[in-house]
């Protein structure tokens, strides 16, 4: 009997560890992309605004992946012969899209909207981590439902002033909870509503 119980407990523990492990969640697993694009270089060193490439992030559900012509806007002039940029030039010349590998993937029954999160003071960094330090992008959060709910339950612990949404390496003020509560009221965030199933699932 004891053996059976300990076996079951053991299995449960393994299952728990497994579903939260990077093997399942994909956290910290960098994906090789068709182009060796480095956010660390473009954002961290050069200081490009997130919205230069992710144009629809403030208006649409998706943040958007830039069309090849966005890359070529600069790279027609900057490092036009770089070997690393060959796939970009080929894409542009042959009118064939670059097939990027998705890093952040939500299940199809979740209807996440970037625009409203950005508007209501959720920082890019809150979900995507220090993008400015990533040569190759990897997930930093599990993006499991419980993780979403942490913030949907208590948005005041996470939201920022709107002008800090794009900031990387933002440090929460010591009075975050207090400031957060003020912001929740100011932004008109209905906390009770954030827990409705219909907010994310349709």
């Amino acid at each position: 009997m004891f053996v059976v119980i300990s076996l079951l407990v053991g299995l449960a523990a393994i299952a728990y560890l497994l579903i939260n492990s990077p093997v399942v969640t994909g956290v910290r697993i960098a994906r090789t992309q068709p182009v060796a694009y480095s956010h660390a270089l473009h954002v961290g060193e050069l200081g490009l605004d997130c919205r230069y490439c992710h144009t629809p992030v403030e208006v649409s559900n998706t943040a958007g992946i830039p069309p090849t012509e966005t890359c070529m806007g600069c790279h027609a002039e900057i490092a036009p012969d770089s070997l690393a940029l060959a796939p970009v030039r080929n894409s542009y010349a042959q009118n064939k899209p670059i097939e990027w590998v998705r890093v952040h993937n939500l299940p199809d029954y979740v209807y996440f909207n970037h625009a409203i999160h950005v508007k209501q003071g959720v920082g890019c960094e809150t979900c995507h981590g220090r993008i400015d330090q990533m040569p190759v992008v990897a997930k930093t959060e599990s993006m499991q439902m419980s993780w979403c709910l942490d913030c949907h339950r208590n948005p005041e612990n996470h939201i920022r002033p709107r002008d800090a949404v794009l900031t990387m390496g933002w440090t929460a003020p010591t009075d975050q909870a207090e400031m957060g509560s003020t912001l929740v009221a100011e932004y008109g965030i209905e906390k009770a509503r954030l827990m409705d199933c219909s907010v994310c699932h349709r």
């Binding site: 994906r31 069309p67 894409s91 409705d196 907010v199």
Partner: protein, 999 residues
Amino acid sequence: MDDSSTSLAEIQRQLETKRGRAYWRGLEELLDTEAFREFLHREFPRQASEWLPSLSRRRFLQLMGASLALSGLTSCAGAAPEKIVPYVRAPEETIPGHPLFFATAMQLGGYALGLLAQSQLNRPTKLEGNPDHPASLGATDAFAQASILTLYDPDRAQEVTHEGNLSSWADFLAALGPQLERQRTKGGAGLRILTESVTSPTLYSQLQAIQTQFPNAVWHQYEPVNRDNVYAGAQLAFDTAVEPVYRLDQASVIVSLDADFVSAMPGHVRYARDFASGRRVETSSERAHNRLYAIESSPSLVGAEADHRLALRAAEVETFARALAQAVSDEAAVDEDRATVIPEDWVAAVAQDLLANTGAGLVIAGDHQPPIVHALAHAINDRLGNAGKTVYYIAPVVANPVNQTESLRALVDAMAAGKVELLLILSANPVYNAPADLGFPDALAQVPFRVHLGLYADETGAQSQWQIPETHYLEAWSDGRGHDGAATIQQPLIQPLYAGRSAHELLDAVINPEPRSDHDIVREAWRQRAGSGDFDAFWQRSLHDGVVADSTGSPVSVTLSNFDLSTPAVPLTPGTLEINFRPDPTTWDGRFANNGWLQELPKPLTKLTWDNAALFSPTTAAEFGLASGDLIELSYRNRTVQAPVWIQPGHADGAVTVHLGYGRTHAGQVGTGAGFDAYALRTADAPWFGGELAVRKVGEGYALASTQLHHSMEGRDLVRVGTVEEFACDPGFVAAMDHTAEVISLYPEPIQSEYGWGMAIDLNACNGCNACVTACQAENNIPIVGKEQVLKGREMHWIRLDHYYEGAPEDPATLHQPVLCMHCEKAPCEVVCPVAATIHDQEGLNTMTYNRCVGTRYCANNCPYKVRRFNFLEFSDFTTESLKLQRNPNVTVRARGVMEKCTYCVQRINGARIAAELAGRPIADGEAVTACQAACPTQAIVFGNIHDPNSRVAKLKASPLNYGMLAELNTQPRTTYLAKLRNPNPALEKLTLAGENHA
């Protein structure tokens, strides 16, 4: 025979014992049959939860074992990496996640209905009406809603074929070239072109160009549901073929002579709106209600709307029209014969009402009534000063109105005589739908070079050497005109999915050595038509608006001729049956046969799906000893066809109605083999009705999938009806029907949030047209289930149209009631869900979380409104690639084993909310619009924030006509109804007064 007559007697006895107002849904209910009790007491019929019979338990365990093992493995490995494929060069205006809307138009019978097509990253997913288009005013019909599915139909013709073998457009052009050269030498004497009705100015100019190049070529037109009678009737009355356009919003007294102007006439979407505008009574002080008299043979939606309805055989409508024309004129001679057919009090009452409302009356003749009835209607309107006020006349909308039956006959004669060498059939399907006596298929075989351009490789395609796939209207440039003449340039939303070509491109290949694209053809045609001025601005404006400015037909003045009335109506031989041919309410003339949404859409009144039937009145059926589901042989003019019987309360006695559009042999996987082919009986001389039909019973037990008894609710006053007069005397009569005492509840009170979503449905406006059902299906990714599953009560529609009869089965009053999830404040479904899959949200939505649902179906069991739908099997198609493109990306595609139901289009509410929050303002009234509301031609459905007292829905809910269905159960439904008011003529009053049972 005994069985049926006893059942009729039994029905009459049952009705007599009912006290007060008696509503019933079907004859089975009156007989209290076992089948009806089954539907009443079980949410789903017995064995509904059975397993697929083809899958044995052993096989199931094998499959489950394998899939468990596989899913176990994949879950350990994490999801396979997905690709994100951005544009190389992003198109202007395109924001991923933001749909764009483009104005275009759909044509049916040539008449254009203006649409706004939704484009999700360049794939059309949903159609809405174009508010600027006069035929739409923002609404659509079921055909337009379902046409998006036809675009993605995997059974569409995909490649050019020659003698059934794969070929190409280039090969076709190569083969056509020498043929055209030969024709050129003789002026096109052997060249014939067959089209359907053409309103397209561009197509017409191309046909004229062909006529110039090939002076001896002949253009024929044939469409089985055409307007020959309308033009011939105008010709008779005015000596010129004009097109009547009705102004129903200006009419107080309307007489329909077998005219279904709310669902089966060009302009019906607009007409339905205009008609409803004269019936909307939100407060008792508003202006007078209009009054509708319907004289009809086969029960139609207009008959159901009517304040007074008279069932006559189609041939007798002429007698009525003559009597009415006489009664409104000075001559008062009464034809002795006619009194036997027409109730004189009827004629007198209608005439008096029309005379009392000169200039505000309107008589409309149905498209299938002979020219004389149209002429009489014109004469009455002229006499009463209605012409110019409630009806005006414009030059024909159809480019070249000819008698289409004669046009086809001429073609058949020429083909049979070997005079036709090259035949181009554009979109038409005459092998299937030509009158049976013309012998079209045999004559066609005489033509050496036959080309068929069609969406499907249909019956005609199969008998043509060249079958060219036609582009769907969402893939092609074209143009067309609406019922009032307004022209629309039809722009495509997507490149052709297959090797499709449009009619413009095919005709251009005939006249141009270097064929152009349909864009260039249409644009060039409009450039020539637009004259001077900035053409680019004109073109952009026209495309953007969806209507070409100043293109509406201008009224022409006509004078009534002294047409001959001396030839009396041909009387029906007493004792014989009349046969009526009608376009089907869902498959029309057969062109929509392969559209699953329309096949499974319960037809108005009969609620049949997947089949047509021979409709009999209860009395006539009893006379012939027939019951619903019997198989009979219809013999008519030496032709026979077998059909199932359907007893339709309210049908004219001594007549049978058959609907066209079924019995297809080359429709596709969905439509082939459904129903019987009524064209097999239809002849050229009497396309709409004729006498001397004989019927003979040959069998029984044909399973007809009617949803009429499905989801029956046991209860009183589900529909509430009164009269205008009653409402004026006692505005509280609706509330007096309530059964609720003081409301107490164990459950918590609803939360008072900023927004509270609710809906009010005006039963005065609803005419049961089905647009909402199809719109919901398109918006919410609702699957179809097939005939067998419908027979088990498993249809998935989130909104259904309940349909009630009142009174005797021979001549009942008919009522419609759209029923969707009531979003009860105290929802009975929520408390029984063991996994909290269905719970309330802050704004009063009764939400359904599919991923939590384990399929116990307790919720459906506990829902008094029977609005929950269960995926008994894998109904959603997860495999057909083309169908995936249609899906709404904002709604989950549900898998097997999951409960679903109306969500109040939560995706649209959330969309409106996010847009409002991004702009930093509250959601405006009318911003969150449900799909059913958007589609509704009569604006019967109003949705909005009930917590805002100024919202339209809150105002409607404050109306004294407002009531909640089954409110006595204390469910506190968020969806409520406005009671229907009839406006009977006191002279013909026979309806029992509402509230009598409460007196």
